[in-house]
Structure formats: C-alpha cells, structure tokens
Assembly symmetry: C2
Homo-oligomer: 182 residues x 2
Amino acid sequence: MDAAEAHFSRYGYGKTTVADLAKAIGFSKAYIYKFFDSKQAIGQAICVQCLDKVLAAGEAGIAEGKTAAEKLRRFFSGIVTTSAELFFEDKLLYDIAAHSAEERWPSAMAYMERAQALLKEIILLGRETGEFERKTPIDEICEAILLVMQSFMNPLMLKHNLDDLPEAPTKAVNLVLRSLAP
Amino acid sequence: MDAAEAHFSRYGYGKTTVADLAKAIGFSKAYIYKFFDSKQAIGQAICVQCLDKVLAAGEAGIAEGKTAAEKLRRFFSGIVTTSAELFFEDKLLYDIAAHSAEERWPSAMAYMERAQALLKEIILLGRETGEFERKTPIDEICEAILLVMQSFMNPLMLKHNLDDLPEAPTKAVNLVLRSLAP
DNA sequence: CTAGTGACTATATTGGAATTTGGTCACGCA
DNA sequence: TGCGTGACCAAATTCCAATATAGTCACTAG
C-alpha cells in the first residue's frame, strides 16, 4: 500500500506497473495478486485512503461546529478544502479519485454513502435543536443535499469548479441552509 | 451551418473535416474561412444552436407553469428533458455541447448567462406574488440555484447523472423551492 | 473591388508492427 | 502446508513513418 501510494503519487496510476510495485517491496509481481485481485483493486484501496482523509476533514468540521448549521458549513468546507488541496498538491492521486467517481468504483460509492450518513446525523441534530424544519422526510433531504452538493463533493465535478472556490460552495451551502429553515 | 449540423451529427465533430463541409456546400475549404475563424468556431455555432433549443424548452416550460414555483419546476424539467433527449438521440451533437462546457467556450458561458436571466425572471415573479422569500439578495439566489443545478444543466455533468433521471433533478428542484419559501 | 480558389505548410492523426503490461498457473522451497 | 516465483499469454500500449487536416496566402475571374 505504501509503495502503491508513493508510486501512484509520483508517476500516476497509468504509468506505474504492477511490476514496479512488486520490485519496490522486493517481491514478485505474482505475489501481489495474492492480496489484490487486480491493479484496479490496488487503485481502489489507495482511492479509499484519499477519500477517507477527505471525509475525516468533514468529520473534523462537524466536531468544530457548534450549531447544526455551523456543523453543516464546516462539514462541506472541510470536504471541499481537503479535496482541493489534494488536487493541487497531489494531482495524480486526485486523478485516481476522479477516475473512481467516473467509473463508479465501489470506493466512490462508499464515500457517498458515508457522507450521507454523516449528513443525516447533522440534520437529525438540527431537527432536535429546532434549527431545521421537520416536515420533509429526512432521507429525501439528505439525498437532495448530496445531489446539489455533488458539484463540489464529487472529485470528478469539483475539478471543473476549482476556479470558483471558495465562494461557490459557500453560496450553495447557504442555499441548502435556507432550504432547511423551519 | 446546415451542412455542419448534418455532418457533426452523423460523423461527430472530430471525424468531419472542414474539407467535407466545403464539399457538401460546393465551395472550397478556403472560402469557409471567410465566415468562420476556425473549425472550433463552427463547432461553437452548432453548439449555440443546440443550447438554444435546450433553453427554448426551458422557456416553454416557464410559459406553461402557472405559479412561479411551477414555472421553476417546468423550466428545469424542460432543460433536463431536452438535454437528455439530445444525449440519447444525437449523442455526437451532445458531445460538442459537453466539450464546449469543458473548454469553457463562450457558447457555454452564454448559455449559463441566459439561463440565469430566465431564472431571475421567475424568482422576481415569485417574489411579487409572495410565493418566494424576499430577504436574500436576488443575484445571490440566482447564482446559488444555478450552482446547485449545475449537475443537471451542465451537459458535461449531466451525462454522469443520466441514470438518476428524472427523480434526481426533481428532488434537487424541491430543495431549491424549499430554500425559496418565505 | 468582390467572390472565390489551388497550392502550400506545419501540425495532428492514423495504422500496424514491436513492445509492455495485467493477470494466471504450475511449480519450488522451507 | 504455506510462502513465494519464473515463465507464459492475451490484451493493451508505445512508437514511428505515412497520411490527413487545419489554417494561410497569393492569386484569378468577373
């Protein structure tokens, strides 16, 4: 995994061969296939690492926020900031994440599901404290929020919106918060 | 233009040569460059035609809707439906539109601006009739709505969300309408 | 002066042979 | 029995010469 992250980060997913990784850890190529079903599986594992970091930043944001609204703001801010950082500082790893979103790899699907779970917690909290409205079915809300935030959460789409950071996602979140008003 | 639309639609932008277009209209290649600065300029012109049709469907939707909320719904529904139709029935033309969005051609920028203008009219109407809230600055609202609807308005992004039609954009619009509630 | 073009060039694209690469498997060695 | 591999194959990728294409310009016919 360490070798894979290093190589993918330096040479990109396409340019690193499984043989390279094997040599780096001093084993044969065949042995790697005892642990990973395919090169793509290695890519997914690395992708999961990246997306975990992104989500961790989102969770950290949630922890920092005091009110539910503030948690929501910082949740997305953490995600977007970390994703953008990844883009600028580790473009080649970012490309794997974008590719995983494009190809609908399980890693990307899992990322969205975890994000939805975190989001749900925020909304539920906001409902308890009375910050958010309670009429709309919660799952519909979570789904809709993820849909409208996709342009900034999905690495594949975020890369087309980097010019508008950080104002654009802030405006989007403002809209989302207005939609949650009681 | 007719020749270009026919050729782009049948063979795609990349596979049709300027010489093909010249031959189709019975002039020399050089003559075409009296009217278009480049092949890309021809592509843009065709792209504008496509996006105009999409926006026309949006305008038609506005006309059909009775209330502002209904206009908004039908506006986006018209845009998304027409874009998706273009994708399925004229993939090669759609690809030009997607490419234009990716490369930020003026055609794509103009499309977004016109969309924003139409949107603004709807919102203003909704404010007059009391359907929508009036606190938030109108331009901020329009900008934010376009941002969150990008996943479905932008051809480049819509093509990654075709599986979720037509439910996803409906849910997104529902969220937008909630955000507009007085 | 206007409408239109053939001939030309630098860049991009293609085809397909040669090479790499992802992936498998029978096997060796402790 | 379990850790580990060289040798192998089909499919993908690279490479490069041949070709095609976008774009220009001096030019002509009317």
